[in-house]
Subunit: 351 residues, 2 copies
Amino acid sequence: MDALERRERDRANSPTLQDVARVAGVSRQTVSNVLHAPERVRPATREHVAKFIELLGYQPNRQAQALARSASRMIGYLIKPLAHGALASINDRFLHALAEAGRTTDHHLVLFSAEDDAAEVDTASRLYRGGAVDTVVLHGLTADDPRPTALLKLGVPFVAFGRTESAADAYPWIDVDNVAGVGAAVDHLVNRGHRRIGFVGWLAGDTIGDRRARGWRTAIDRHELGSACHALDVRSEESIASAVQSTFHLLEQPDPPTAIVAATDTLAVGAMQAAQRWGLEVGRDLAIVGFDDTPTAEALDLSSIRQPIELAGQRVIAALLGTDTASPTSRLLDPQLIIRSSSARPASPRS
Amino acid sequence: MDALERRERDRANSPTLQDVARVAGVSRQTVSNVLHAPERVRPATREHVAKFIELLGYQPNRQAQALARSASRMIGYLIKPLAHGALASINDRFLHALAEAGRTTDHHLVLFSAEDDAAEVDTASRLYRGGAVDTVVLHGLTADDPRPTALLKLGVPFVAFGRTESAADAYPWIDVDNVAGVGAAVDHLVNRGHRRIGFVGWLAGDTIGDRRARGWRTAIDRHELGSACHALDVRSEESIASAVQSTFHLLEQPDPPTAIVAATDTLAVGAMQAAQRWGLEVGRDLAIVGFDDTPTAEALDLSSIRQPIELAGQRVIAALLGTDTASPTSRLLDPQLIIRSSSARPASPRS
DNA sequence: TGGTACGCTTTGAGCGTTCAAATCAGGTGG
DNA sequence: CCACCTGATTTGAACGCTCAAAGCGTACCA
């Protein structure tokens, strides 16, 4: 009967803590200690037990651990469909970074999908209350995103990648410094001799878009190019076609820009196409810098601002686990400008 | 003391089955039955209990369920870093499709990452034996991928998206019909009047690449264009730069192609750039069709072959849950050709 | 020599479910 | 009138682990 039971279990799954304890001739707790608190176990015992753990190929059952500890070591992540018309999102890089960062502490990501924000909050809360996840990662936050507040109210622990415009101190977040990123792009262009630097951004109302616009304006003012540039600010939807039109508006100005900073790579691609149709050669007649450093940017040799996604992933996980020792200010990560041929050359004299 | 315990638990988490049973004045099992086997419960009781479930906002604890049922309703998925130089992978779309497909049956995806194939198999096996996942999704299979065999040997249940060249009947898989996809592209080009249709593919040795090459050759033969086209077959690495060079080789032939089918969008972008540098206008002087229908293809108005990823996700999940009623042959899904301006026009007379 | 402190190990209880078996009313038929 | 069945509900025992507390030798000090 015992043998039968044993066989039955083998079919279903691996040996248990109890099994290891039995063959090693110790109690379950000792085996558990060897695994989780080795300092409590006499070295001789430790090795003896370790041998049998190895031998049986013992693998702790996560569900049982989770139940006993009331902590699943699982992190919820809402996966969104790629926005239509957008170039490769940086989502998959971020996701990979998170998975990688969680690996060292035996934390895994649980994906879930939802129709809208309300459903997302609801699902997140259900997973949390159901013990499936300990915590949740929020991303793609908009300026007035209702999710942080909603999760806060429901008592679901979370860390956001990105942040809302207001109330950003009421919850933990990690973000990329969009203002600094665009600023670096402007610095680079000024450094290459450009004086008329335009901006193709998103329509106002999105946190990220607004910050990138602010980054452009701030840097322009810093270089005291306001009089030459303030008019060179156009806004577009996140699509190639729309960006082409917006760029035309820039190019048909009396004093057109010699360089353009775009708020995303998608917009930058639009700007490139517009330049081409306008008879300008990108990189020679018009410098262009994008944002996000998508594979497309690399493909088209487009300078772009790269977000430190891997670092962001690590920071988010650290914040989640409460092991984030960084000071609050360093929650804002600096992006890096990748210079390619679309903006590498010095500005031509006509500027 | 009881009150204290109760409060303690409330802080940590939601009400339990026992709590609902208590307030409803029934036993735990009855509550459980209301949830999972309502037909066993008298209608009156059912409604009465349901009311309290609703009232307390009861949420079953997944870990406890998993432990008791020895089934976690979690599906493992290895997330890979995006190959360097590749355009947006279709991975994130597939991932989203999987998450969406699992949602209806309360299955969720657990992500894990690993350095290489061996580590992946190892991690997958550990997660499985540790009860963290019931099953695993394999993707990105190469011709002689060792993973299916390894998982089979370890007894880890899985379904592959894609398949190895050999032994493809030893395990369950869902795949996109690459041969048919490229065939459709060739048909389309022939239909537009092209007679010299070249192919830019991957270097031999990759299942997907080889099947796409075979698709081209098969279609060419079907249209009896072998004599005009068989020489128009070049191979490249998966990078823009390499594809540009390969395309040059095609264009410098005595009878250059008037149309090119590329094995991936990345290669197609290379072909587009090569055409441009060669002084040819894409869509007018040279028709180009890519594969994968990445956002970049849409951005550049490049015709491309779109994989039915959402359907694939649903099929994989169905196969995983054993609810796949489809016949074995329909495990091969038909891709769809998206025609854009890069290949829409009829071939010019010079062909 | 007895108390006690310390290092190591074991025991008991519980985490929140589900499964299988037991119990319990109400009928039914002999 | 009692054995018997049937449908509805309850009870006991896992599932595999961790936490807290108890046990148990050995050694140390008074």
